[in-house]
């Protein structure tokens, strides 16, 4: 028990040190700027189709479920409000986060762990290069850039899908009802909140994946274990952050 606690505290300390090293590198963009753009491009392009599919399905399910549960009890335009509220504040960022965690977080952890066990990270250090500037900062920064953009696209796709499905599946529903419902609910801050959430998820997922990956050990089995650890840790972090960020929605 004491050993586990000590280890957990040690890990937390190591994560704090990594965060500090990232902050120290940030004022020197020459070291990471090009790599960050390249990472952002790869992350964005590779994840976009899956993010859009998930958002489409999320939006479609939301309007169908709302239509089924509210039919007869509430006016149909409420579906527009529920759709906007669910997709903008929750489904857009969280579904994007889950896709990115599985798609990007796991890939980062596996790549860095495999670099660690094959001494590629040691080779960087031996050459006098800073692995944090070379490997971690570009990925975390790419997460910060790409996640909010993907969240905006996911929100747009979710609403588009929910709108279309509501017109097809809910009796008496018109586009005017949906627009009315959305406008009833919508405040610009909600969209800002969604984008902030995307940025926080982006940094958290890439940071945790980098941290876990850089500490990978063992052979092929170790890389597998590291990837699993990264997925579990990022899933937990995603849901905890989702809860912690709620007060921010009410702040403005």
């Amino acid at each position: 028990m004491i050993k586990r606690t000590t280890r957990s505290l040690g890990r937390t300390g190591e994560a704090a040190v990594l965060a500090w090293k990232i902050l120290k590198v940030l004022p020197r963009p020459r070291l990471y700027f090009n790599a960050a753009l390249q990472q952002a491009y790869v992350m964005g392009i590779q994840s976009l189709p899956l993010v859009l599919i998930m958002a489409f399905l999320g939006g479609a399910v939301t309007s169908q479920q709302t239509g089924t549960q509210f039919s007869g009890g509430l006016p149909v335009w409420v579906i527009g409000s529920v759709l906007a509220a669910s997709v903008i504040t929750e489904l857009g960022p969280v579904l994007t986060g889950i896709v990115m965690m599985a798609r990007v977080g796991a890939a980062i952890a596996a790549e860095l762990a495999s670099m660690k066990v094959t001494e590629q990270i040691d080779a960087l250090v031996a050459m006098g290069r800073d692995p944090v500037a070379f490997l971690v900062v570009p990925r975390v920064l790419a997460g910060l850039i790409v996640f909010p953009l993907l969240v905006i696209l996911a929100v747009a796709m979710g609403i588009f899908a929910g709108w279309g499905v509501a017109l097809l599946a809910v009796d008496g529903m018109t586009s005017a009802d949906i627009v009315y419902g959305m406008r009833f609910y919508f405040r610009p801050w909600v969209l800002v909140f969604s984008v902030i959430k995307g940025g926080v998820f982006g940094v958290a997922i890439t940071f945790i994946a980098c941290f876990v990956g850089m500490n990978g050990e063992g052979g092929a089995e170790g890389v597998g274990r590291t990837t699993t650890t990264a997925v579990v840790a990022t899933t937990l972090a995603l849901m905890v952050l989702d809860v912690l960020l709620v007060p921010l929605l009410k702040a403005f």
Binding site: M115, T118, E119, Q120, D122, A123, V125, A126, M127, G128, R129
Partner: protein, 249 residues
């Protein structure tokens, strides 16, 4: 000069290095022999600051590696080339990019043609054809990867080279080529080397002195001729299992 002073290192309860004292003179090639798991690689990793000692220190040209600032450590590392056991090439980069990464500071402000010419020159030093330049490490044989690893280690013109098991896993012809390469580095570039090896042929071929690391300490450190005459049963048992060593006698 690289000097290890009373170096101790443990991993959990395993006390690997138990007070290593060893110095490597300028221009010398020291072959470091020892049974598996005795801490040979661990020892040379301390010289470049990849591991921190629990006790003791390593001095490179008089600079304490254990107490060096980040800047001093970076400078010390620019004077040392490390040849990794499995080459440790960046598998997402081409051979040329691997070489350029090792000399980025030197490359600044130079034309692409210049950089290509330098990469070709480096590959020529390790007897590799320039055609491998745009290949990925996964497209190369084990011997070629090792050579690219050497080219990368010498890309920034280091004064010291640390070779971690340079001939392990290679066929005899490729192993001989690597031995020749180690000797060429000393003769042509005047590089000081520490060669960690299991291979007695390599140790006797390239070593000006041979050190035997046993149970975490230096058991003997002598010229190849003298170590063969050493009466210590542990040394005897280890160094006399060779054919080429007999030729030295």
């Amino acid at each position: 000069m690289i000097e290890f002073r009373n170096l101790h290192k443990s991993f959990d309860s395993h006390h690997v290095l138990r007070g290593v004292d060893l110095s490597v003179e300028e221009g010398e090639t020291l072959a470091l022999l020892g049974p598996s798991g005795t801490g040979k690689s661990v020892l040379i990793k301390h010289a470049i600051g990849l591991l921190d000692p629990d006790e003791g220190d390593v001095f490179v040209d008089g600079i304490s590696i254990a107490n060096a600032s980040e800047k001093e450590l970076r400078h010390a590392r620019r004077r040392i080339g490390y040849v990794f056991q499995n080459a440790a090439l960046f598998d997402s980069l081409t051979v040329a990019e691997n070489l350029w990464l090792a000399q980025t500071d030197e490359r600044e402000g130079r034309s692409l043609e210049n950089c290509r010419a330098e990469a070709e020159e480096l590959l020529a030093k390790v007897n590799l054809d320039p055609s491998v330049m745009m290949k990925l490490p996964s497209e190369l044989s084990g011997g070629m990867r090792k050579r690219v690893g050497v080219a990368r280690a010498i890309a920034h013109n280091p004064s010291y080279l640390l070779w971690d098991e340079p001939t392990t896993g290679l066929d005899p012809v490729n192993a001989d080529n690597i031995d020749e390469l180690i000797m060429t580095m000393r003769e042509k570039l005047g590089v000081t080397s520490i060669v960690v090896t299991h291979d007695l042929d390599t140790a006797f071929e390239v070593g000006d002195r041979i050190a035997l690391l046993y149970e975490g300490k230096v058991r003997a450190c002598q010229t190849p001729e003298d170590i063969l005459k050493n009466d210590d049963p542990v040394v005897k048992r280890f160094v006399r299992r060779t054919t080429r060593a007999d030729a030295v006698e």
